[in-house]
Amino acid sequence: MKKIGAELKQHALTAISYMLPLVVASGLLIAVGNLMGGENVTELSKMTIPNALTSLGVLGMGLLPSFIAGYISYSIADRPGIAPGFLMGQIASFLGAGFLGGMIGGYLVGYIALFIKKNLKVPKWAEALMPMMIIPTLSAIIAGLIMFFVIGNPIVWATNALTNFITGLDQSSKGVYGFIIGALGCVDFGGPISKVPNLICDGLLLEGITEPEAIKVLAAMVPPLGVTFSLVLSKFMKKPIYSSQEVENIKIAFPMGLCMISEGVIPIAMNDLIRTVICTATGCGITGAISFTLGVGSKVPSGGVFVIPAMSNPIAALIALLAGTAVTGVLLVLIKKKKTDINETVVDDKEEEMDLSGISIS
């Protein structure tokens, strides 16, 4: 059972890894276009440079369901899965249930394609036709009909239910959910755990709900900015908490953090994992809670501080970001142990005990 879960997750992560550059590029196009006063237009005669950027970004976002479905299917069935997967994404867009539809469609058509690939025996002369014609066409027909006639309505219903749930939240539950989304979204600094809530935020964005996306963008910046703030604060308090090697790492993590890449914190967190994660997750959660309660929304899924001006309420976004950063920084200075020798080189060989018994050579 656990193995099936891991497999399903790998397929989703594969899709995300192909999707991320698309999301980032499209998101920035929309943001830059909007800042220049552009809007989404559908006629060539109305095209100005700002409009062109925004419109291209919106078109890019429209590709998302197909990317999700296509690359989930690719991960399951390899290359023959890509084409039918993209088709399922188009169905998802047609249904108006982009994200959820894309995921379900991708899994569905991927496993159908894999089944055909493994079980359909054709005469030798037709073998070349398998990946080119038979698998894509047959799997698209089967999965397509299922999508339209069997699970189409339930998917639309589920998407609407989720949308209504989020838009119907009152202030206090917004605080709670904001905290959870924020804290979970950066608990492992851009690693596999944080991809799950972030994926949900991207999905909600496709349904036109922008608040979770703002939490994602803001909270992702909190760990690196918070760590940087704690470094500054520790100098003031005369309580050194980082080795000189870690200080060098922080100097790299800070500019990365401004661009919403929290991975820069990993080398610092690794040396003192539990304390660091407690501090950063708390800060991220607070940023999330404030951002959600103040109703900050972001149409742009990526870009860090540069997209704050494009958010629905830039001042509130800034408040949320600074509050989380301050909390993380202060907590770090309070609970991290004082470094007696700041020149100590960190012994890297310390390993966490891991249970590797489930892993075997095949």
């Binding site: 397929h11 890894s17 991809k195 390993e351 005990e353 891991m354 590797l356 050579i361």
Partner: protein
Amino acid sequence: MKIVAVAACTSGIAHTYIAKEKLIRAAESMGHTIKVETQGTIGIEDELTAQDVKEADIVILAVDIAITGTERFEGKPTIKVPTNVCVKAPKQLIQKIENELNK
């Protein structure tokens, strides 16, 4: 022991390369030779040659996502783990491989 490995994580910018560094450091400190191919967002780097794979005693796949070129490893002893195993416990992983291969 000759090890070849492929590392690939979801965002393809950080964990992939941390896993690579950790594996190389652990393997070399334990007296093995190792070559690690990375499949990040930038594409494939340090690609394993057919010769590398042929000579290898074990293939480590440190991957969170589907990778390209798995057919190269058909018939080779292969061990597949998430990248975070290589980030957190590379030596334990290699120790385990040693034990399994010497059985």
